[in-house]
Subunit: 359 residues, 2 copies
Amino acid sequence: MKLADSYKQTQYQLAGHGKRNIEVLKEAFDQVDGEMDSDIYGEGHVIESFERKIAALLGKERAVFFPSGTMAQQAALRIWCDEKGSRKIAYHPLCHLEIHEEDGPRKLHHFEVTHLADETRVIEMDDLINIDDGVSAVLLELPQRELGGRLPSFETLQKISAYCREKGIRLHLDGARLLEVLPYYKKTASEVSKLFDSVYLSFYKGIGGIAGAILAGEESFVNQARVWKRRHGGDLICLYPYIIPADHFYEKRKDKMADYYVSAKELAKSFNACNGVTTIPAEPVSNMFHVHLPLKKEEAEAFIAEIHEETTIGLTAKVQERGNQVYFELSLGDNYQSIPKDALGHLFTVLENKMKTSV
Amino acid sequence: MKLADSYKQTQYQLAGHGKRNIEVLKEAFDQVDGEMDSDIYGEGHVIESFERKIAALLGKERAVFFPSGTMAQQAALRIWCDEKGSRKIAYHPLCHLEIHEEDGPRKLHHFEVTHLADETRVIEMDDLINIDDGVSAVLLELPQRELGGRLPSFETLQKISAYCREKGIRLHLDGARLLEVLPYYKKTASEVSKLFDSVYLSFYKGIGGIAGAILAGEESFVNQARVWKRRHGGDLICLYPYIIPADHFYEKRKDKMADYYVSAKELAKSFNACNGVTTIPAEPVSNMFHVHLPLKKEEAEAFIAEIHEETTIGLTAKVQERGNQVYFELSLGDNYQSIPKDALGHLFTVLENKMKTSV
């Protein structure tokens, strides 16, 4: 059976909050009064009150709701570039703009990109020391998803922030998963955000909404972001189909991030106890990590599909490959806690045994 | 009382399908099974089946759902520009890209725009005769919204289409309100669309969905449009919150466009019978028209607010001004038919009397 199909047929899943189906929308709207007015082109109570709420969470003057982080981040970086009069920006070679946006940042905004750090590690203070003064903005992603959700230390963030301010370089936070790293940093969203000039937060990762993002910063920055939202085609007449679920699931899960983080550490430990299996990071610093297998991609797919059939616990629907690394991503949410302990125990017995015969 | 507030308090409204409130979403999802899978980044039954359905309606090979027409049309024109290797495009000076997109088309795509026709009339065949051969694409908007929804003749469309094909210029249709003009042309959507290389259709105008658009054309064109959707930040993980309502309201209203057209002609006649009031077009060719008043903008706003209070029928929440013209737009939908005839009669008696004393 194909991996994705075998995953769909499992009874439990290690990652996530449950199926992405229409019920997610229905749950969010169940208690909402049908007479409530829609937002209209960025105005109205439903959008303005949510923007104010998340701006306050992030300790920023203003916030604007975007349909996507792709759009929000391109807008943010373009604003900082226009401010300085230079299209030079710097980010990690595995950041979202580099690998998931079909080169939109260059094709639409003509950014001139410098890569910081490399595919094996996150950005550290030393990576910025020789940075071109002409760089308008540096983007940091916390956690660095494509590296299994790794993080620099909070002290490093403080140093990078101070350095960028001194150099007149704007610092932007790809905080798609910002809430997910707060338990590790033992900081509030506002304490992390204040190190950055602009912050993007996603509502369908750990929060588990349908789609949508917030971009926050000072008032003049956010006013410009609203104009770029219109230019990109993101100033939809009604965004409430995403805003109401974003708010609903934010309230439902904002205080569960520490649980997801604890679960991730526990689960990673179980994987690392299996001979040949390793996780990155070895000890997670958020709700996510990567599981690396000493197999070729096709072998890993068949291997995991068999585990799905034997255990009815879903590990992943997709195996990834980078260089000679074969791995899959796990982002923990509500699902993990609902798996019976003996079923989990059985999963790791099966995994351990299969590893012995497969490798 | 302010015009917008007085409009909100009216019992009936001449235009539209009813309030833009959460009930629109609730109605669309009421009969949908919660177990139905979401679309995921452009894939899945819910998005693919709708794209196939609208492609068939428009007689095109493929279609792609976009969150907005702004994004869809910038993508379409960029594809045609890249094909020819020239950023020159041509459209009407009052088209959406020129006046509602914060100059996004130039700032993101560096289009070099030639205006065809002027602010008093639609594009005719003669406007294209001396067009630069380097122009990659011409955009026609049917009906031309900012001119009260005026149209060229179908014969003119055929001539323009043949001319562009001969010259190697791509012809794009801003068909945001395409279904609304079919009763006047006495043509199918496919018969109009086949004159164009690419077609955009909106789902929250006459159809009355929440937001969203379709862009249709040949397979290679649509494949490129999907890439531009990703680049713009429009390839959302889930677009079903717009697609399911688009489909629901398309089915509900696709066969009512002739009724809306007949209503528009009847209502325009009543306005034109009032001394000093005129409509553009004098006889509508779709469900929409503009009502021009011989008053200054502030006078018109106070005048209409008074009518709202006296008749409890809403004319408009917004008066517009262009040059020395003061007018408001009416786009007819389900609301008009629900107004009692005697209430409508009373409205025009009040309007006639007030015009006598105000002008």
